[in-house]
């Protein structure tokens, strides 16, 4: 039973990570691509680490896994925020112009 749950979790996590990778290729600009990559960083890896909990079901593994998920949740948005902010600062004018064009057209 535990192995079936772990298998489902691994498949779901790998699937989300794959979709995130496809998204980085397919989506149009950096900020939109960031959405795909934050998803890989949070849900994809959380599901993979969740599979570890289901397989081992021991206190040492569970506590390490929970700590891993917490640190991922803590650090991933900071990296995403810094990249997004740098992009927004350098290309702000270009983006505003495009946005305005979109709104008018």
């Amino acid at each position: 039973m535990a192995e079936i749950i772990a298998g489902i979790l691994v498949l779901a996590g790998a699937g989300f990570t794959l979709i995130a990778a496809i998204g980085i290729v397919r989506l149009p600009d950096l900020l939109t691509r960031m959405h795909a990559s934050t998803k890989a960083g949070t849900l994809g890896s959380a599901l993979l680490v969740g599979a570890l909990i289901a397989v081992f079901w021991e206190t040492t593994v569970t506590s390490k896994a929970i700590a891993t998920i917490l640190f991922l949740l803590l650090t991933a948005p900071i990296a995403a925020h810094m990249i997004g902010r740098a992009y927004a600062k350098t290309e702000r004018d270009k983006y505003i112009a495009r946005d305005r064009k979109q709104r008018e057209g």
């Binding site: 989506l27 900020l31 959405h35 998803k39 949070t42 849900l43 206190t59 927004a88």
Partner: protein, 159 residues
């Protein structure tokens, strides 16, 4: 925060008396300690806000997980469908939260859910710029962010 320390000490006592220091027994100790403190609250005069706060923290965590799942599926669907329908915009969210910790929590939670990415906070800390992937109706999205994530963070920190 004092009550949290009491609760942790009670959880430690529970684990020590039952003789098993596993995550499960510590968690049971936390729950039992919570009810023990709740029962003896008029006797020892602890801050009653703690008891509501625990529920609000749990609610925020569950809400965040639900949003994470929902918006992940939304972004994933948009990535794999043949013709993407995203309409990315930077929206301005006026902030009601004041302290550093609250702003950090709100911006982090917004960044963590796919579909929204907090880009910057203005120096006067009144406005948050959020890049939204499906901003067909910017005002509705601002209202959703304020009514969901920000309101729940506010309720965790204020009575």
């Amino acid at each position: 925060m004092n009550v949290l320390v009491y609760n942790l000490i009670l959880a430690f006592c529970w684990a020590a008396i039952t003789g098993s220091f596993t995550l499960g027994s510590l968690f049971t100790g936390l729950v039992m300690g919570y009810f023990a403190l709740w029962l003896s609250q008029p006797l020892i005069g602890v801050d009653s806000f703690y008891f509501i706060r625990v529920f609000r923290v749990i609610r925020l965590a569950l809400y965040f997980l639900w949003e994470l799942l929902l918006s992940s599926l939304r972004v994933a669907w948009d990535v794999i469908r043949p013709f993407p329908s995203n309409n990315p915009k930077i929206i301005e969210v006026p902030l009601d939260v004041k302290s550093d910790l609250e702003i950090l929590l709100v911006t982090n939670l917004i960044s963590l859910t796919p579909g929204t990415l907090s880009v910057d906070v203005t120096p006067d800390r009144k406005t948050l710029y959020v890049h939204h992937m499906f901003a067909d109706d910017p005002e509705a999205e601002v209202a959703a962010l304020k009514g969901g994530m920000e309101r729940m963070v506010l309720e965790v920190f204020h009575r």
